[in-house]
């Protein structure tokens, strides 16, 4: 149930695979739900060329650790995983992965979705986009337009 912060490009499918191969007993779980958030190359009708993700390292790690702990308590799951980028991110690159393993698909889906919803609402990250018209901080109201 780790939460991993990364300052480099990552492959979410490799991360899921590596984690379940190394940490989970094959045959234990029947359902794996995952979500991957990827940087789009447009947002609110403007072309975005680069995004910089600022975070508050200790608090972000602390928050995501607690989120995983709560998720394991609140849902009937075997395990869960969060991977999140920070720093400079280019269009098409993955930003975040959340995943949950369970015996039951409803619990896997609900836990996976809870992870990303809580992360988006409360984890201390801030996006700054570079567009044709210059840099701008993404505001929370704009998130809904984004993904």
């Amino acid at each position: 149930m780790p939460a991993i912060l990364l300052d480099r490009v990552f492959n979410p499918w490799d991360e899921i695979q590596r984690y379940q191969t190394e940490e989970l007993r094959s045959g234990l779980y029947g359902a794996t739900a995952s979500f991957v958030g990827t940087m789009r190359d447009f947002n609110i009708d403007e072309k975005v060329s680069l995004m910089t993700l600022e975070h508050y390292p200790e608090m972000t790690q602390h928050f995501l650790n607690e989120l995983c702990d709560r998720c394991l308590k609140d849902y009937d799951i075997n395990d869960c995983l969060i991977v999140h980028r920070f720093g400079d991110i280019h269009p098409g690159e993955p930003i975040v992965l959340t995943a949950a393993w369970s015996a039951h698909r409803a619990q896997a889906f609900d836990a996976c979705r809870n992870l990303i919803e809580e992360l988006k609402s409360h984890a201390p990250f801030w996006k700054k986009e570079a567009t044709d018209k210059g840099e701008r901080w993404v505001h929370d109201e704009q998130q809904s337009d984004e993904k």
């Binding site: 930003i95 990303i116 201390p124 990250f125 801030w126 505001h139 704009q142």
Partner: protein, 77 residues
């Protein structure tokens, strides 16, 4: 008592500083800390506050050695 104050994202840019250490001689709230650290800028309505990595309201009390952070609404994921 000494408080480590941190600012992030647009607040960091607006105030032109990421970190400042303040000294107080009496117990203070998070709002008191903002007032002393923000060079007269009124706290934006949507500002989030944390003491030692936990979200708090502006009337929470800070203790010696605490890290107090101010930042705009989060936009991760």
């Amino acid at each position: 008592m000494s408080i480590n104050v941190q600012f992030f994202a647009s607040l960091r840019e607006q105030l032109g500083k990421q970190q400042v250490t303040l000294e107080f001689t009496r117990p203070v709230t998070v709002l008191d800390i903002w007032s002393q650290a923000s060079d007269g800028l009124k706290m934006p309505n949507n500002t989030l506050c944390a003491i030692n990595m936990e979200y708090v309201k502006t009337d929470a009390m800070a203790n010696d050695g605490d890290e107090v952070a101010f930042f705009p609404p989060v936009t991760g994921g």
